[in-house]
């Protein structure tokens, strides 16, 4: 029966051309795969190259100009004078403060993110995985400003955190912490501790997701193999899991580190009156009208990130890629 059906209609060895505009286009693109690649890449490369990187270079160019202190006009002669200004103690303070904050925020994010990412990669299945993604992504869908103002209320002197610690009779702990130099202050919402907490909260998803992706690629039997060869769970973490998750941790830390370096809203709403780089850029390009110094400040995170990636590569963070 099937034989009869199959042999009823003669089938050509080569099918006829589809014809028409799209048919011919398909044939041409199949014969010239490079043309297809060119057509696909040209628009994004133009966008990235001209609009994105071009405007960035235009900005960086500004950092080699200087401002005439007397007239407030920009002097378009190439000079390193503006970079010299960065080295003034008041500006160096801003840079050191920002880099230190970015480093601590990154470290804390990695420590908090790893167990969450490990759970999601190893154990969460089906609807638990969906819940995991929802839980990670949901905070990203709501307005950044709303979240920060919510945190301001939470951390305020009359806020829920103070109330909760009061109920637990732990106010002395908060007071002791707030009386510490540098990290302390009148309340959490006007201290560096508050800035730190909110930074970690806001950037945490950017750390969790890359670590989770990296751990997901680690076959479960590598963990078994390590255990089989006599490694305790701690040794397995140090020798197998951590090195293999390191590219993910570095990818996540690029986000948390650079986002903290550039942010100007969080430290403005929550924290002390001392400036971070983002706020300095904002102030110099806006009210002060000192575009060259603002541009020079912008270069700082780029250079810091450059050194960071170079160091990470030297430490072998990308060897497992």
């Amino acid at each position: 029966m099937t034989d009869a059906v199959l042999s009823a209609r003669p089938v050509p060895a080569i099918l006829p051309r589809r014809g028409g505009f799209f048919g011919n286009l398909s044939d041409i693109l199949w014969r010239n795969p490079k043309l297809l690649l060119f057509l696909m890449l040209a628009p994004p490369v133009l966008w990235l190259g001209v609009v994105y990187l071009g405007s960035l270079f235009a900005l960086l160019l500004q950092s080699f100009f200087s401002i005439d202190e007397f007239s407030g006009l920009i002097n378009r002669d190439f000079t390193l004078k503006t970079y010299g200004e960065l080295l003034l103690p008041s500006n160096m303070d801003i840079i050191i403060r920002t880099v230190a904050m970015a480093a601590i925020v990154t470290l804390a994010s990695a420590v908090i993110a790893f167990p969450i990412a490990y759970y999601a990669a190893r154990y969460a299945r089906g609807k638990w995985k969906v819940l995991f993604y929802l839980g990670i992504m949901l905070p990203l869908w709501s307005s950044y400003l709303v979240k920060i103002y919510a945190w301001k209320l939470i951390l305020a002197k009359e806020g829920i955190l103070t109330w909760l610690l009061g109920k637990l009779h732990l106010n002395w702990l908060l007071d002791a912490w707030l009386s510490l130099p540098v990290v302390g202050g009148n309340s959490l919402s006007v201290s560096f501790t508050g800035t730190f907490i909110v930074f970690v909260y806001v950037w945490l998803p950017f750390m969790i997701l890359p670590i989770q992706a990296a751990l997901e690629r680690v076959p479960a039997n590598l963990v078994e193999a390590s255990s089989d060869l006599g490694a305790s769970p701690g040794q397995t973490f140090r020798n197998v899991l951590f090195p293999l998750a390191l590219p993910g941790i570095v990818a996540g830390s690029i986000f948390t580190f650079s986002l903290t370096l550039g942010d100007y809203i969080i430290p403005q709403i929550i924290g002390t009156s001392r400036l971070f780089i983002g706020q300095a850029v904002y102030a110099h390009q806006g009210t002060a009208g000192n575009i060259p110094l603002a541009a020079a400040f912008t270069v700082v995170p780029i250079v810091v990130m450059g050194f960071y990636l170079w160091g990470a590569k030297r430490m072998g963070a990308f060897d497992a890629l």
């Binding site: 039997n221 078994e224 255990s227 089989d228 060869l229 006599g230 305790s232 293999l244 060897d319 497992a320």
Partner: protein, 332 residues
């Protein structure tokens, strides 16, 4: 005498699935023991129970007479060669092999020397600096073997280690594994679904089905005297004969088995032979395998290639020596 591994009524249930169901097992020290069975028969779970990756739901496991219940894998002097090798991709070959010694705190110079020695044992000297990603499947297999052997395990577990290799390499590795086992005297426990592999390599074979052991014995016992239809069917290509058929030739109403090479083909349609239609002939090199249809009973026979064969569709007469007809314990 103490067993290398002993199972007493060991079960491992996953929810309602009985992956391993009340298994009793004794593996003799120094033997090459194969666990043979189709996928899902519980053989791999048994291996994982010995390694410590799984804990029994019930029953008792002893390794060289020491209770293994609740002992984590890293405290068992048992090592595994994983099915897909599970080499650490971020470590080079030497560090992979030295891993077990490294986590036990053995000094760098000593463990490197031991790793290099073991690499020589598996015929990969000088490969230490390469990454696993730069090796072929067969070389990775040898590294996985070296990584396990360097720890001088009391029992070496091999989980379908030859499954991913092509035929020629597989045959070569079979011989090498066997020679290595003889030389080192370590107890090897080998899981496979390939009956040829199990029969050719092992001193003893356990045939698994549905979480139970159907039969344990030497390869020739398993092959020549299967106790049940399942074993006869799964091990080798024996013809499984129903009780009605067996009764005509042996007088006993039991299931029987008859090996394909015991069947002779004749063209004269007379005498006390079995009349059968030749359905197809497959050329296998030295032998030709015939598929036959004896009144609805499908039989296979192997004959030397080169002998004149009747055309397909022809009726032939099958004869066999009654002594070759094996009766199973399984009744009608």
């Amino acid at each position: 005498m103490t067993s290398a591994v002993s199972f007493r009524k060991v079960s491992r249930h996953f929810g309602s699935v009985r992956a391993v169901d009340a298994v009793d097992l004794d593996i003799v020290p120094g033997e090459f023991f194969a666990m043979l069975g189709p996928s899902g028969s519980g053989k791999t779970t048994c291996l994982r129970l010995i390694a410590g990756f799984e804990q029994p739901t019930a029953g008792e496991i002893r390794i060289f007479d020491e209770k293994a219940d609740g002992v984590p894998p890293y405290r068992r002097n048992v090592n595994t060669v994983f099915q897909d090798y599970a080499l650490f991709p971020h470590l080079n070959v030497l560090d992979n092999v030295a891993y077990g010694l490294m986590v036990k705190g053995i000094g760098k110079a000593e463990r490197r020397r031991a790793a290099e020695e073991t690499l020589t044992l598996v015929k990969l000297p000088g490969y230490g600096a390469r990454k696993p990603g730069q090796l072929s499947g067969g070389q990775r297999q040898r590294v996985a073997l070296a990584r396990a052997l360097v720890n001088k395990p009391k029992v070496l577990l091999l989980d379908e280690p030859l499954g991913a290799l092509d035929l020629k390499l597989r045959e070569q590795m079979q011989e090498e594994l066997k020679a290595l086992q003889r030389r080192l005297g370590i107890t090897f426990v080998f899981v496979t679904h390939d009956q040829g592999e199990a029969l050719s390599m092992a001193d003893r074979v356990a045939v698994f089905n549905d979480g139970r052991i159907m039969q344990v014995g030497t390869p020739s016992e398993i092959y020549e005297r299967p106790q049940s239809r399942f074993v006869a069917d799964f091990v080798g290509s024996s013809n499984v004969l129903p009780p009605d058929f067996v009764q005509r030739y042996s007088g006993q109403r039991r299931w029987g088995s008859l090996r394909p090479e015991s069947i002779r083909i004749g063209r004269n349609v007379s005498g006390d032979g079995v009349a059968a239609k030749l359905v197809s002939a497959s050329y296998l090199g030295a032998t030709t395998r015939l598929a036959l249809d004896a009144e609805g009973l499908r039989l296979h026979a192997t004959v030397p290639s080169g002998a004149a064969l009747p055309p397909e569709g022809e009726t032939v007469t099958l004869t066999f020596n009654r002594e070759h007809l094996h009766l199973m314990e399984e009744g009608a």
